[in-house]
C-alpha cells in the first residue's frame, strides 16, 4: 500500500525522531541511552543493596570467602575492560573524523577484548565449580555469581551491539555526519566497564 510503504520509509530511514532534524535525533538518542543507563544502575542497584546488607551482617564470612577468589585474574580482567573502554572511545573518535575502517578495527578489537574477559571469567567459574563453590554454597558466592553473571550477560549484549555497529559501518551507513549507533553503543560499553570498576574491589579486594 502506498501510504504504508511511505510511512515505513520515513520512520525507518530517518532514525528516531520526527522533526527530521538530525541534531534533535542525536540528542534524543543520547538522552534515551542515559535514561536506559539510569535503569541499569538500579538493576545492579538491588544487588549492591543486597551486598551491603549481607556484608554488614556477616563481615567475617565475607572476609574468609573473598580470599577464595583470584584477585590477580580479577585485576587482569579489570585491565582488559579498561583497555576495551579506551579502544571504544578511540573508535568513536575515528568515525567522528569519518574513518569508518578505523572504527571497525577498534570496535573489532573491543569485541576481542570482551572475549578475553569472558574467557578469563569462564576459567574462574570453572575453578570455583571445581572446588565445589556454587551459587548455593553461601551468601558470598550467591552474590559473586549473580553479580558477575548479570555483568557477564551485559558484556555479551555489548558484544552484540558492537558487532551490529560494525555491520552498519561495513554497509557504509556510518559517516562523519551520522554515527549515532557507534556513539550510543560506546556509552553502553563504558557503563559495562563502570559496573566492573565497582564489582572488582567489592568482590575480589575487600570481600
Amino acid at each position: 500500500m502506498a501510504t504504508g510503504s511511505r510511512r515505513r520509509e520515513t520512520a525507518m530511514s530517518v532514525p528516531a525522531t520526527e522533526h527530521h532534524d538530525p541534531a534533535v535525533a542525536f540528542e534524543a538518542a543520547k538522552l534515551g541511552v542515559w535514561t536506559f543507563l539510569a535503569t541499569e544502575v538500579l538493576l545492579f542497584g538491588a544487588l549492591f543493596t543486597a551486598y551491603t546488607v549481607f556484608r554488614m551482617k556477616y563481615p567475617e564470612m565475607f572476609r574468609v570467602e573473598h580470599a577464595k577468589l583470584d584477585r590477580v585474574l580479577g585485576a587482569v580482567n579489570t585491565v582488559v575492560l579498561i583497555t576495551s573502554s579506551l579502544v571504544v572511545v578511540l573508535g568513536v573518535d575515528a568515525i567522528k573524523r569519518g574513518k569508518a575502517r578505523l572504527l571497525e578495527a577498534y570496535f573489532g578489537a573491543t569485541i576481542l577484548l570482551a572475549g578475553v574477559f569472558l574467557c578469563v571469567k569462564y576459567a574462574e567459574y570453572a575453578a570455583k565449580f571445581h572446588h565445589g563453590l556454587y551459587p548455593r554454597t553461601n551468601l558470598f558466592f550467591s552474590l559473586y555469581f549473580v553479580m558477575t553473571g548479570l555483568h557477564g550477560i551485559h558484556v555479551l549484549a555489548g558484544m552484540g551491539l558492537l558487532s551490529y555497529v560494525i555491520v552498519l559501518s561495513r554497509r557504509g551507513r556510518l559517516s562523519e555526519a551520522w554515527h549515532t549507533p557507534a556513539e550510543m553503543s560506546g556509552l553502553y560499553w563504558h557503563f559495562v566497564d563502570l559496573v566492573w570498576i565497582y564489582l572488582f574491589p567489592l568482590l575480589y579486594l575487600i570481600g
Binding site: 541534531a23 543520547k30 538522552l31 539510569a38 543493596t49 551491603t52 585485576a75 563504558h190 565497582y198 575487600i206
Partner: protein, 92 residues
C-alpha cells in the same frame, strides 16, 4: 552538527593511564590490612575511576544539565534504597 566539546585522543590516553595506575594502586592496597580503611580506600578509588570514565570516555564533561541530571538521579535513588534497607536491617 554541534557535538559539544570534542576531546582529544591525548586526553583519552592520559585517562587510560590514570585508570591503569589506580587499578594497580587499589590491588596493592588490598594486601595491606587497614581494617575498615580497606573498604573506604577501595570504594574511593573505584569512584575516582568511575568518574574518570563518565567524565571523559562518556563525555559527561561537556554535557548539558539535562544529561547530568539523568546521570546523577539514579545514584540518588541507589543511595535511597541502600539507606532505607539498612535502616531496617541494621537496627532490628
Amino acid at each position: 552538527m554541534a557535538r559539544g566539546t570534542s576531546t582529544s585522543r591525548l586526553v583519552y590516553l592520559a585517562v587510560f593511564a590514570a585508570l591503569l595506575a589506580l587499578t594497580v594502586v587499589t590491588v596493592l592496597v588490598s594486601y595491606v590490612d587497614l581494617g575498615l580503611g580497606n573498604v573506604v580506600v577501595a570504594l574511593l578509588i573505584a569512584s575516582v575511576k568511575a568518574s574518570l570514565v563518565a567524565l571523559f570516555f562518556m563525555h559527561l564533561k561537556g554535557e548539558s544539565r539535562l544529561m547530568w541530571g539523568f546521570a546523577l538521579i539514579p545514584i540518588v535513588f541507589l543511595s535511597l534504597i541502600i539507606f532505607g534497607t539498612l535502616v531496617d536491617t541494621m537496627l532490628r
